[in-house]
């Protein structure tokens, strides 16, 4: 009986299928090529926007592309590994500068990601149970994310000015300082940079984690509550493990964004970026555009790319292995 039924089902279904998609059945050639045709614009865009510039960038890193050749790229003489040697010669000013900016960027990225994640998690958990005003708070928290980056960072630039900025004024009113602290030059520049980047980024963490929290079944918490688990224990034993897939992606994305952040230092410091806030992207921009050495700038970009690929690879390997063990 069952065999007869199985045989009968496709035969019975065929006419119905034919009825619903007559055109496709009649033109098998189109049917085969349609997915590729639909994909073609995306592939073309990817090629034009990403792949070709990437190949050009790698080529640039192997030629001496200085001001003498930028009007005629193809005439630039080969530099072999010369640009890489300059970038990696840490006894020379160029290499030393790159190393310093790399160190600044590592500190900046780790602290910014950590702060953004902690703030995002705290806000997402706090706004999980329903209460009056929750919707308003959620909207309010998303303002930095919705605000154009330039406008937001420029406002911070005004607020962090030494004599006229709101930050020093407030600190002085609260008797926490004498109001003469420099925030955009000297050692505090890194503190300011982290604060502004965190302000810009934490709401993305909040949004992502909030979405992740929605997917955790409520009965898990109810059961834990019945068993006498407190909020902290519920968070540690239910929330965190349930959010693991979300967190894996979130932390990686936050790290990659912060490590290649260009807007924040560019708008916050302008052309006068202090050594303490000299992020690697801005450093590469200066190497390329202020000293007109696009070859060395491209070599630095490729080195940054390799570093980020290695970090990403290790991260995915380690987290993947742990997931499999779990």
């Amino acid at each position: 009986m069952s065999v007869a039924t199985q045989e009968a089902t496709p035969a019975a279904a065929r006419p119905a299928k034919k009825k619903s998609k007559p055109g496709l059945e009649r033109r098998p050639g189109l049917n085969r090529w349609l997915p590729y045709l639909l994909l073609a614009p995306a592939v073309l865009a990817e090629l034009l926007i990403h792949i070709i510039p990437m190949i050009v960038g790698i080529w640039m890193s192997f030629v001496k592309l200085t001001k003498f050749f930028i009007a005629n790229w193809s005439a630039a003489p080969a530099a072999g590994l010369g640009n890489y040697k300059i970038a990696l010669d840490f006894d020379n000013a160029v290499g030393e500068g790159l190393l310093k900016s790399f160190g600044v960027t590592v500190v900046f990225s780790l602290v910014t990601v950590a702060l953004s994640w902690v703030l995002g998690m705290a806000a997402a958990v706090a706004l999980q149970p329903p209460f009056k005003g929750r919707a308003m708070l959620r909207t309010l928290f998303l303002v930095p994310y919705a605000l154009p980056a330039y406008a937001g960072i420029l406002t911070w630039n005004f607020m962090l000015q030494r004599d006229t900025g709101a930050v020093n004024h407030v600190l002085e009113q609260l008797h926490l300082s004498d109001g003469t602290t420099f925030w955009l030059i000297g050692g505090n520049a890194l503190v300011s940079l982290i604060a502004v980047a965190t302000w810009k980024l934490w709401t993305f963490a909040f949004l992502t984690l909030m979405a992740g929290l929605q997917s955790i079944p409520g009965d898990l918490y109810e059961a834990a509550s019945v068993d006498g688990a407190g909020n902290l224990r519920q968070w540690r034993n239910i929330t965190l493990p349930s959010l693991r897939p979300v967190n894996l992606v979130l932390v990686l994305v936050l790290f990659l964004w912060t490590f290649s952040d260009f807007n924040t230092p560019y708008v916050l410091f302008g052309t006068a970026q202090p050594p303490a806030g000299d992020l690697i992207t801005f450093h590469i921009y200066n190497a390329s555009f202020l000293t007109w050495n696009f070859g060395t700038g491209a070599a630095m970009s490729v080195l940054l790319l390799i570093f980020l690929m290695i970090v990403t690879g290790i991260y995915l390997l380690v987290t993947g292995r742990r997931s499999r063990r779990a």
Binding site: L184, G270, T291, T296, L305, T312
Partner: protein, 438 residues
Amino acid sequence: MRLRSFVAAVAVSALGISLAACGGSDSGDSSGGGGGDATLTYWASNQGTSLDNDKQVLTPVLEKFTQETGVKVNLEVIGWNDLQTRIQTAITSGQAPDVVNIGNTWAASLQATDAFLPFDGDAMTAIGGKDKFVPTALATGGKEGTDPTSVPLYGLAYGLYYNKAMFAAAGLQPPKTWEEMVTAAQKLTVPAKKQWGMALAAGSYTENVHFAFINAAQNKADWFDADGKPTFTGDGNVQGVLRYLDLMQKDKVANPSNAQYDNGTKSVNDFATKKVAMVINQNNANSSIVANGMKAGEYGVVPFPAPAAGEQVASHVAGINLSVFKNTKNKDAALKFVKYMTDGGTQTTLGKPFASLPVLKDAKPAFTTDAAEAATFSDIYNTKSKPLPLVPAEDQFESTVGKAMNGMFAKIATGGTVSADDVKAALKTAEDQVAASS
């Protein structure tokens, strides 16, 4: 598969850092048309009080050119922060305007790109001949001994602006030497009134490098040798830089907050609002000073003084030049336009609103009605100015030395000290950066 896609995305993002900036800037329409009623694209630098102000000033002047020649001009005014990058992008992409303003200190560096039309015999004749220009101004057009790739449009020079009432109240005369300037500035620094002797654009690398150059020139020191190789760490350079830094460090006549002044406007505003007694700025500060509340006649101008035993250099030969992109399809129209913009009538029309010094022989300054001020700036421009190094690496000199000075001012402002050895070390780093890029 997912990992591979992700790695590719990361790769692209990272490379995009350098590449995004190299491509696709909006560079205007350079096609124009070959002849007949050609249309030129002209990138003008910001000279007036705003980009809109520049458009208002230039539009009738350009319309007059169209009436005379039938050549239309598409104008775009570009702020100074963007101009150099826009020019670089135009050179790189080939999508360039026909005619462009450049800072005259960039002339030799831009010439080295081979993207600009040389004003050789024929081209120079077409714009009215080299003899119409002030020789000092024309000398900024490119490397010595070559056909210039830019010609002077607006002349500028530094002067020491001082507040007449503050000087009179303190019983002071306008300073003639560096020592007199420092003494006056110290007397006019009154912390209780939040008043300072001087304002410095100490966070602006372009302003800082100009003063590194001028102070070193007063010590008879050069930044490049005859072969164009950097000689940044000479004693004259180090002492010149230190002397300028000491205005904030040792003499304490400038507010440490000035280390955050990343353009000249902020220091000029402090002077105009009478928070400081002196400011060193180019003559185009006049319009900003008046716009910020100080009346003409309330301030005087003298040459930026050298030490008593020093060389009498008060400024670099500052100003704006005009260049034609070599790949223009409207060469004849572009040369006509350059001739028109550097014509006596146009120069007089633009001299007042843009507060520029004349770049033409025998022309009189139109930027001020104060005869003494006009004479002072003309004298500085013609007899006390020295061109910045006319070498291909000039732009690298500006960025590396200027930024080194930003860093040293920041150190002083935040409580650190900068010694002669520190200056030498910072200049050595700058020198290495230039050498690596040459």
